[in-house]
Structure formats: structure tokens, C-alpha cells
């Protein structure tokens, strides 16, 4: 080997070992670590802005954002927490909350909420706190319900009005279907990689509309009902009529949520079934796109699924009150207004959501109707949610492919579901 090169490499190695051995420096202020996955969704500027505004009000506190991408977030956080190095306040999905809770990593928010500020109490709905096994384990920062979102321009060009129920949706899809130009009215996430997306957005939402229930209070399956059959039959009929991108069942089984968002932004499909945040996602990709929610649908009921993403406070934190104060800041009117305006996230603050101009908004207007409907249902924390999603998706796929009837698919799914839930208890 070239001697010079060897020297450089040797120096590099020594340097690497030296730098590697050096550890971080300590902090004088009270340090609060906030784990989050939102850098790409909100922009790093926004994350910094949230921290800066909090630190202005609490000069003796230093908040440090700990970013981990959504895909690998729970793996990384669980490992950290297992080792006793849990961030004080953590972005949390209901999906993951059981795993954290089972290991005793989540603080009970109940006592903290009892001494919350008046401003908080007047602007935060108790429904946004998730109770699981008798403890308040997390709270929503923003909520979601999933309905049909459409591209205003594409529907106008086709000369169709936005649908107002599921059968009208079918008619609109038939009009929009253009086999020559390869354009479809809707793309749905029927791929296994989007199993949780399918279960929550497409199956659960449609099930509530069909008058069914997903689970009982113990998390055991109740979807193996006539309403469940009606749900699956509806999606299969759209597939069979070639109304779903890309026109074949097998093609649809390869399409996931990440793909349908791109297809929607690229105006290849005119509609998707998703939440209000899609506006921000679509605009980021295609600044000219105009999106809106359809009016709320009614099948057997007019209810929707209520979900959200939020935060939890670590049971290991030395400053639970400070962590709670930071949470109050996250759902304050100031932060909420900014997040609603800039990111179309329906932030958990009644005052900000109640702003009169929002009722006129093509996204948030219909959305608040969906949320306030009395038939709407909250999803609940479930053990091993990832496995449960896989069970629903696998059996739905078998039905879509015509391998077994809907009732049988749901019965088998319910059996596997209950086995997972029982084992997780």
C-alpha cells in the first residue's frame, strides 16, 4: 500500500478512537429531554420555535429535542428506556403505548392533570387523554379522523360533485375511472406494509359507519359481525369493479400509504381516505394542489374513528411537573394556532379549534363535524397492535383475492386477534 495513504489512514484511526472516547459535556440548567419524530413533518424550525417559546417562559430550563425517525422511533426509545435513559417527555403513538406501558415506562398523567393550570383545563378536552388499564398513559397533541379527501380541481374537471355517502362515492369513482389515461378515482393502502393504516383508516372507519364495533372494553374482537362483513364487502366491490388504483386486486395489494400520497399529490388519483394532515403533505409536494374533505358520510351511522398522536411522560423523569408544563405548552393556544394554520393538524386545543374561520375551511370545517358526531368512536390502546394489524390485513387480503368468504375471514381473524390480546394481558 502507498505509504502516505497508510499514514493518513493510521492517523485517522487513532483520531477516531480518541474522538470516540470523548463524551458529551454536562449542563448547568435543568435539562428536559423531549423525544419526537416530527422533524420532517413539522420542519425543524417549528420544533425549535416550540422549544424557544417554552424556554422564554422558563429561563431556568433547557429543553433538548431528541429526534428519531417515525419508522425506527419505538425501537430506539424502548432500548433507551430499558437502559434507564428515558427522555422526560416522549412523542407517543397509541400503537406503541402498550409496549411502553407493559415495561412500566409511562407515568400516570392523572395526578399531574389534577393540578393543571386553569388555562389548560379550559382548553383541553378530557377525551384527549388516553386511559389504559386504569391509568392515564398518554395525551393527544393532535387528533385525526379519516374521511374522503378529494382534489378540488380534478373533480371539477370531471364535472362531478363531491360525494356525500358511500354509494355516491362509488358513482364518482366510476365517472373518474379512465382506463386509457390510467387514472383512477381513489388509491387505497391494501399492501401488507400498510396493515395498520388499513386497519385504522379503511377498516375501522368503515366499520363504524356500517354500525359495527371493532372491540369490546377488554380489547376482544367484535368485528366478526354483519357490519364487519358489510365493510369488507364494500371494499371488495370497489376492487372488483376496477375502481381502485391500479385496476386489479393484485395491483392494489402492492399499494401502500406512502405510495397513495404520492399518487394523490401527482394528481394520478383524485381521492384518498385519510386525515386532515394530508393537506400539508400534498401541498409540500405540489404547491398548486387544492384539497378538501367531502361532507361527512352516513351509512348505518354517521360516526367516524377518533385517533391521534400525542405525548407521554416517562416514569423515570426527575421533573414530572416540568414535563407536564412542557406538555401544557405544546397544547397551548399559541402553539395550536400555528400548527393548525401551517400544518393543517387539528391540534388539541378547543379555543384554537373553535376559531370561526376554521368552520369555513374546506378541510377543517367538515372535520370538526366528523369529530363532534355522537356516533364517532375513539380507538383504544391495544397490546401488540402491530400484530393485530397484520392479522386483519392478512385475512382481508384473503377475502379480496376470493380465497375465502368474508364471514370466514373475519371469524378466523377474530380468533387470532383474541389470542394475541389475551396473551398480551
Amino acid at each position: 500500500m502507498n505509504r502516505k495513504l497508510a499514514k493518513v489512514l493510521a492517523v485517522g484511526l487513532v483520531l477516531a478512537l480518541f474522538v470516540g472516547a470523548t463524551l458529551g459535556v454536562g449542563y448547568a440548567k435543568t435539562k428536559l429531554v423531549w423525544a419526537e419524530w416530527w422533524d420532517p413533518e413539522w420542519g425543524e424550525d417549528t420544533v425549535e420555535w416550540i422549544i424557544d417559546t417554552f424556554e422564554e417562559a422558563h429561563p431556568d430550563v433547557e429543553v433538548k429535542a431528541f429526534f428519531a425517525p417515525h419508522d425506527s422511533y419505538s425501537d430506539k426509545l424502548l432500548t433507551l428506556c430499558q437502559a434507564g435513559d428515558c427522555p422526560d417527555i416522549m412523542g407517543m403513538e397509541v400503537t406503541w403505548s402498550d409496549a411502553f406501558n407493559r415495561l412500566g415506562l409511562l407515568a400516570d398523567l392523572g395526578p399531574l392533570a389534577a393540578s393543571a393550570s386553569d388555562e389548560f383545563n379550559s382548553q383541553f378536552s378530557p377525551a384527549w387523554i388516553i386511559n389504559y388499564k386504569g391509568r392515564a398513559i398518554m395525551a393527544y397533541l393532535y387528533t385525526n379522523s379519516y374521511g374522503i379527501i378529494y382534489n378540488v380541481k380534478l373533480l371539477e374537471e370531471a364535472g362531478v360533485e363531491p360525494p356525500t355517502d358511500w354509494e355516491e362515492l362509488r358513482e364518482v369513482l366510476t365517472t373518474l375511472y379512465d382506463p386509457v389515461a390510467k387514472k383512477w378515482g381513489i388509491a387505497l393502502p391494501f399492501a401488507m406494509k400498510s396493515s395498520c393504516h388499513f386497519m385504522l383508516y379503511d377498516f375501522w372507519t368503515r366499520l363504524i359507519q356500517a354500525g359495527g364495533h371493532m372491540v369490546d372494553e377488554n380489547g376482544l374482537a367484535r368485528f366478526d359481525s354483519p357490519a364487519g362483513v358489510r365493510t369488507l364487502e364494500y371494499w371488495k366491490s370497489l376492487l372488483d369493479e376496477n375502481l381502485v388504483y391500479p385496476g386489479t386486486v393484485k395491483g392494489a395489494l402492492a399499494t401502500g400509504e406512502k405510495e397513495f400520497r404520492e399518487l394523490f399529490a401527482a394528481e394520478q388519483v383524485a381521492m384518498i381516505l385519510s386525515g386532515p394532515f394530508e393537506k400539508g403533505v400534498a401541498l409540500e409536494r405540489n404547491p398548486d394542489i387544492q384539497v378538501a374533505f367531502t361532507p361527512p358520510f352516513e351509512d348505518c351511522t354517521s360516526g367516524y374513528l377518533l385517533t391521534g398522536s400525542g405525548v407521554a411522560i416517562s416514569s423515570q423523569t426527575e421533573h414530572p411537573e416540568l414535563a407536564w408544563a412542557f406538555f401544557e405548552h405544546l397544547v397551548s393556544y399559541e402553539v395550536a394556532t400555528k400548527m393548525i394554520e401551517e400544518r393543517s393538524l387539528t391540534w388539541a386545543n378547543t379555543a384554537a379549534l373553535g376559531a370561526p374561520e376554521l368552520a369555513e375551511d374546506p378541510m377543517l370545517g367538515p372535520y370538526s363535524e366528523m369529530v363532534s358526531n355522537s356516533a364517532s368512536r375513539s380507538w383504544i390502546a391495544l397490546p401488540s397492535l402491530g400484530d393485530l394489524c397484520g392479522v386483519i390485513m392478512e385475512h382481508a387480503q384473503q377475502y379480496f383475492l376470493g380465497l375465502k368468504p368474508a364471514q370466514q375471514a373475519l371469524d378466523e381473524a377474530a380468533e387470532e386477534w383474541n389470542a394475541i390480546v389475551t396473551a398480551g394481558k
Binding site: 430499558q82 409496549a99 399492501a191 401488507m192 388504483y245 399499494t255 402491530g386 400484530d387 383475492l401
Partner: protein, 297 residues
């Protein structure tokens, strides 16, 4: 006549082996010990610690039909990958080993074939996800040829083959390099001798190249088996095991059932079983296939 141990063996050699063995043993032995121990335990939230539960985790594992599906898929995936790797790598290596009129051009091609190896697995998975889309470039090309749409990742009879293809695309350059080097080191004199005997190129390939390459190909298969059997990232990014469970690999089972839910006891049992399956396969392979090739090991 039996020689004494000290005469038969040259123990000084262990001095050279010591640093590498120390690192391997230290960095693997301890974690491995914990894993084997954990596989007989279960975390109890009431006690807040791991407790011994005997063979419970293993019983649970063997009674899960998904585990057996994943084992079957993994064997198909591994054997298919090995076949495709060799199927790509061997002929291309032969081409690049042929006598080229211009060495510079040949070197250019050798360099070009290495490009796929530079894609990190998630990037390669994403790239192929784009190519495989139902209305993507590959299907567009097929429709121009008059072939109908193929759901590469949506059709359960295609999906496993599609992901094998991608796995082969990313990793065949490694095997190509290995085989090419093997071809180059076959002494020319063998070929000359064959020519004198009037052998044509097919005969030369069968009677000279293949036997000379046997040891190397055996080693390549071994290495490929050890890496493909525990493959995770590429297929995970592309399909997460779907459609149905047609691409569900054993490493997904390990991740989903053991690690993602932090059931360390169960995950460890899965890991131990995977290692056992591999150890059995490799031992059988080494003793049956490589036995005569004392040289290889």
C-alpha cells in the same frame, strides 16, 4: 508411527489467531450467553424481573403456524437467492474472464457491474419499489411488449421471486468478483493441455473450469447461505412480509414477535432456533458437500 502432539502441531499459530479470536469471542460470547439464558425466561411485570419458565417459549414458538410459514419462505428465499446469485455471477464472470481485445473496456465493464453493490439496502428497496409499481417502468415496458400487468409485489405467486431478484441484484457483484478471481487463477496450462487433446470450449468448460472452480463455488454457497438466511432489511422495506404472508421471512418473525414488542424471552428463543437451524444446515453441508475438498476448510 504416531508422533507426539507437539511435533504434529505448531502451536505458535495460535499467537496469530489470538487477537481475532479474542475479539470474536468477547464480542459474541457474552451477549450470546445472555440470549440463550433469556430464551428460558420471561419478563414478569409483577415481579419486575425475568423469571425462568423452562421450555415455555420454545413450545409457544413451535405451535405458531406463522413460524413454520416463515421457515418455509426463508428456505425458498435462501435457496432461490443462492441460485440467482450464481446464475447471474457465474456467466457474467465467464464473460469478463474471456480474452478481450481491449483490456481497458473489459475493466470498465468490471467496474460497472459493481455499482449495484453500492446501494444501501433501504435505498435499493425503494428504488426497486418504484420500478415494480403496478404502473411503473417495468410494467410500462411489459405493456409495450404486449404482456399484461404483473403485480410484482402484490401477487403472492410473484412477490417472493421479486424480492429474491432484488436481493440478487444488490449482492451478485460480490459473488461475481469472487468467481472471477477464481477463474483467473486456474493455471493456463490446464487449458492448453485440454486443447492439445482436442477439447472444444464446451468440453474445456466441463472438464477444466467446473472441477477447478468446485471448491470456490462451495465456499461461495456457504457464505451466501449464512447471509441470506438471516436477511432482513431489503425485503422488510419492500413488503413487510406481504401480500398474504408470501414474503414473510424468519427474521421478520424474530423482529415482530420478539423485538418490536420487547418480549425478550420469546425473541431470544426465536434467535436460538434460527441459529440452530443454520448450524445444522451448514454442518450437514460441510460434511456432505465439502468433505472431499479437504482444502476448503
Amino acid at each position: 508411527m504416531r508422533r507426539r502432539f507437539r511435533d504434529r502441531y505448531d502451536m505458535e499459530g495460535f499467537l496469530f489467531l489470538a487477537p481475532a479470536l479474542t475479539l470474536l469471542v468477547l464480542s459474541i460470547a457474552f451477549p450470546l450467553f445472555r440470549v440463550i439464558q433469556r430464551s428460558f425466561q420471561e419478563y414478569s411485570a409483577q415481579v419486575g424481573a425475568f423469571q425462568y419458565v423452562g421450555l415455555k417459549q420454545y413450545q409457544h414458538l413451535f405451535s405458531d403456524p406463522l413460524f413454520w410459514i416463515s421457515v418455509r419462505n426463508t428456505f425458498i428465499f435462501t435457496i432461490g437467492s443462492i441460485a440467482l446469485h450464481l446464475g447471474f455471477a457465474y456467466p457474467i464472470a465467464l464473460l469478463l474472464n474471456a480474452r478481450w481485445p481491449n483490456v481497458k473496456i473489459r475493466n470498465f465493464f468490471r467496474g460497472a457491474f459493481i455499482l449495484p453493490f453500492l446501494f444501501s439496502p433501504p435505498a435499493a428497496a425503494l428504488l426497486w419499489g418504484l420500478l415494480f409499481r403496478p404502473l411503473g417502468p417495468l410494467n410500462y415496458g411489459l405493456s409495450k411488449l404486449g404482456v399484461g400487468q404483473i403485480a410484482f409485489l402484490g401477487d403472492s405467486s410473484w412477490a417472493l421471486f421479486s424480492v429474491m431478484l432484488v436481493n440478487s441484484w444488490v449482492y451478485f457483484p460480490l459473488y461475481m468478483i469472487l468467481i472471477l478471481g477464481g477463474l483467473q487463477s486456474i493455471p493456463k496450462i490446464f487449458y492448453d493441455a485440454a486443447r492439445v487433446d482436442g477439447a472444444n470450449w464446451i468440453q474445456r468448460f466441463i472438464y477444466v473450469t467446473l472441477p477447478q472452480m468446485r471448491t470456490l463455488v462451495m465456499t461461495v454457497i456457504l457464505i451466501d447461505f449464512a447471509t441470506s438466511f438471516i436477511h432482513f432489511d431489503l425485503v422488510w422495506t419492500m413488503t413487510k412480509g406481504g401480500p398474504l404472508r408470501s414474503t414473510y421471512l424468519i427474521s421478520f418473525f424474530l423482529y415482530e414477535k420478539g423485538l418490536r414488542n420487547f418480549r425478550l424471552g420469546y425473541g431470544s428463543a426465536v434467535g436460538v432456533v434460527i441459529a440452530l437451524i443454520m448450524a445444522i444446515c451448514i454442518s450437514v453441508y460441510v460434511f456432505v458437500a465439502i468433505r472431499r475438498e479437504e482444502a476448503a476448510v
